[in-house]
Structures are given as structure tokens and as C-alpha cells.
């Protein structure tokens, strides 16, 4: 029998968290799901993959082109989607809200700042440098609302 959950500190906890998430399946609340995914060892690569096909910070994109609803995986994220799709959609959505706020000073979201801030906070430590200021703008916005 192979040991699926290895001994050790951080990686062990992340693996155990992944097992709980697998048991909960599609019923995991989105903020818990996001934090669990962001703790994975391949999280930075995953998030890079989600973000690289979006308009980029400093790219002088128009406000229309960074519409969050449109970029949240071909539309708003749905609770019944499988976990991977919900993570990808939510990350893209928050990234686009962050970009709109950072580049145009406009909050474009049908969801409250309090809902997006935990996702932005989870993304912050693992995104590339260019995305940090936009995500911090979301956190700052959540603090003043």
C-alpha cells in the first residue's frame, strides 16, 4: 500500500487539505476552495496559467476589454461548476476586477468587495510582481467599504 499522505509539515497539511476538499467535492464554499488550491505546491504555475490569457497590468487596455463578468471563464462563475473550473473562473474574475480598479480607478463587479478580498489575499503571495499592485488595490478597497 502506498502512502498517499506523506509525513512532514507544510506539504503534508496541504495534501490533507486536498483530501478534505476531495471529499467535499463541488459543495466546498468558494473561499475555502480557493485557499485550499492556493496552498498547493503548483499553485503559482496554476495561477500563472489562469492569468496569462487575460489583459495584463500596464497593457493600456480599455475598461471594456477588462470586464470581469466576461473574463470569469466565459461568464460569471457558477456554484455547480467542478472545483477546478470554479477556481479558474474566480481567479480570472478577481484579477479583472483588480485590473479595472488599479488601471482605471473603477470598481467593476456585481460581487461585494468583502467577497473578493479573501481571494485577492490568497493570490497575492504567489502571483507575478506585475499583478501585486492590482490585487492590493482590491484589498484596500475592501478595507474602506
Amino acid at each position: 500500500m502506498s502512502a498517499v499522505v506523506p509525513d512532514g509539515a507544510g506539504p503534508d497539511d496541504a495534501r490533507c487539505a486536498a483530501l478534505y476538499a476531495a471529499l467535499l467535492g463541488d459543495r466546498l464554499p468558494t473561499d475555502v476552495l480557493i485557499r485550499q488550491w492556493m496552498a498547493r505546491s503548483d499553485a503559482a504555475a496554476l495561477v500563472d496559467g489562469f492569468l496569462e490569457r487575460l489583459p495584463q497590468p500596464g497593457g493600456l487596455e480599455s475598461l471594456e476589454s477588462i470586464d470581469a463578468e466576461r473574463h470569469g471563464t466565459d461568464g460569471p462563475v457558477r456554484a455547480e461548476w467542478p472545483p477546478s473550473q470554479r477556481v479558474a473562473g474566480t481567479v480570472r474574475y478577481v484579477a479583472m476586477v483588480a485590473l479595472a480598479l488599479h488601471e482605471h480607478g473603477v470598481w467593476r463587479s456585481s460581487r461585494p468587495a468583502s467577497e473578493l478580498a479573501p481571494v485577492a489575499a490568497a493570490m497575492l503571495p504567489i502571483v507575478q510582481e506585475s499583478w501585486r499592485a492590482p490585487l492590493q488595490a482590491v484589498l484596500a478597497r475592501a478595507q474602506v467599504v
Binding site: 500500500m1 497539511d13 483530501l19 476538499a21 476531495a22 471529499l23 467535499l24 459543495r27 475555502v32 477546478s84
Partner: protein, 224 residues
């Protein structure tokens, strides 16, 4: 007829008491081993957080040695508290007693009680380790059950699909599992792990209807 899991994992608080009172030596040894596997590490982390200059592993070892003492389990049952909280209290009192004994030997004043207030750090250390050891024990129980049924490859499928995110079309055929049957196989594995968790969670006073919420709570303890 018992489920495959209940042969290798503590199924309920009532059965713990039955084994403690009337079980064979082998049954008692297995149950004590299962409970120790879940609770030992959380208790060690918990006691470490008090910062006492004592061998906390030794304190926990002594506690685990009497984990199936019928009087100890009866006391827990009467308390109507979750087993982990009962154990935590017992561990803290044991640590306190040892500190007092140490101080008496050294001729110092007995202010151990004041020093052993349970901090948030101690609780968090316990909760984190408990969440990890519980899911680890349940996973191992599920793997044992699958191994015994000659279905170990279903665990691999579960890991590849549900943990590593691979689509069934990619991970099922190399394991000899038809793609059409893969969803049922992973559902079966999830059921086995949940069955294993239910035994401990029910002893911890978690109602069947609240298991999902409890799993979310356990997961939250493991977040960075």
C-alpha cells in the same frame, strides 16, 4: 454484517466502550492503536504550546496507554463532551500534575495552575494536527479496505482525478478502469473515506447532518 471499514477502524463511541470492556486483547490492541494514531500527535503539539520544560511526549504516551481504560472512557461518556476535548483536558491536567510534582521536588511555590492557561495557540496547534491526523487515518483505513478487496487501483484513480485534477479519460484507462465506470469508482472511494471519518466524528458528537460542515471546519484548520 459489518462494513469493511468497521473491521479496521473505530466505528462509534458505543463500540469503543464495548471493546474497552469486553473486547479481546487483539481487539483492544487494534482500537488503542487506531485512537492513538489519531490523537497522539495533536496532543503532543497541544502540550508543546504550553512551553513547559518537561517531556510532553512522555505525558502523552502515558495518556495513550490508558486510552481504553473503562473508567477513563466512562468518565468521558458521562461528560458528554467530544473525545478530543476530554483528552485535551486530561493531557493538560497530567502536565499540570507533573509540573507540580517537579516543583515540590525543587521546593518551589505551586503556581502551576496559573501558568497552564490554555492559549489560542495551543488550541490552534491541536486543531491543525487533529485535522491532519484524522484524514490521514481515514485515508489509510480506506486504502486497507480497498486492498483487501483487490481494488487498490481505485484509490490511485481517486488521487489522480480528485486530488491531482486529471480527467478520467487520461487516468482511468491506464489503471484498467473503463472511463464509464470511473465516476462510480471515485464515489466508492469517497464513501469509504467518509465511512471511516464518520466513526470518529460521531464519537466527537458530530451529527450525521453536520458532517459536511464539520469537514469544512477541519479543512479550515489546515489552511496556511
Amino acid at each position: 454484517m459489518p462494513s469493511p471499514i468497521s473491521d479496521s477502524f473505530p466505528p462509534s463511541a458505543r463500540s469503543w466502550l464495548a471493546v474497552a470492556r469486553d473486547g479481546s486483547t487483539e481487539q483492544r490492541r487494534e482500537l488503542a492503536g487506531s485512537l492513538t494514531a489519531i490523537y497522539r500527535e495533536p496532543l503532543v503539539r497541544y502540550l508543546h504550546a504550553f512551553g513547559a520544560r518537561l517531556d510532553v511526549e512522555d505525558v502523552v504516551q502515558d495518556l495513550c496507554a490508558r486510552i481504553l481504560d473503562p473508567a477513563f472512557l466512562d468518565g468521558w461518556h458521562r461528560s458528554e463532551r467530544p473525545f478530543r476535548l476530554w483528552l485535551r483536558t486530561a493531557a493538560r491536567f497530567e502536565l499540570m500534575n507533573r509540573i507540580r510534582a517537579e516543583r515540590r521536588r525543587a521546593g518551589a511555590a505551586d503556581d502551576a495552575l496559573a501558568e497552564l492557561v490554555e492559549s489560542d495557540n495551543a488550541q490552534a496547534a491541536f486543531d491543525r494536527a487533529y485535522a491532519a491526523s484524522l484524514i490521514r487515518a481515514a485515508s489509510e483505513a480506506a486504502q486497507r479496505a480497498l486492498d483487501a478487496q483487490g481494488r487498490a487501483h481505485e484509490w490511485t484513480l481517486f488521487v489522480e482525478h480528485s486530488l491531482n485534477g486529471k480527467p478520467y479519460a487520461e487516468c482511468a484507462p491506464p489503471l484498467g478502469i473503463p472511463v464509464d465506470a470511473a465516476r462510480h469508482a471515485t464515489a466508492r472511494v469517497r464513501g469509504l473515506v467518509l465511512d471511516a471519518l464518520r466513526g470518529v466524528l460521531s464519537a466527537e458528537q458530530v451529527a450525521e447532518a453536520d458532517i459536511e460542515r464539520e469537514l469544512v471546519a477541519l479543512l479550515s484548520h489546515l489552511q496556511p
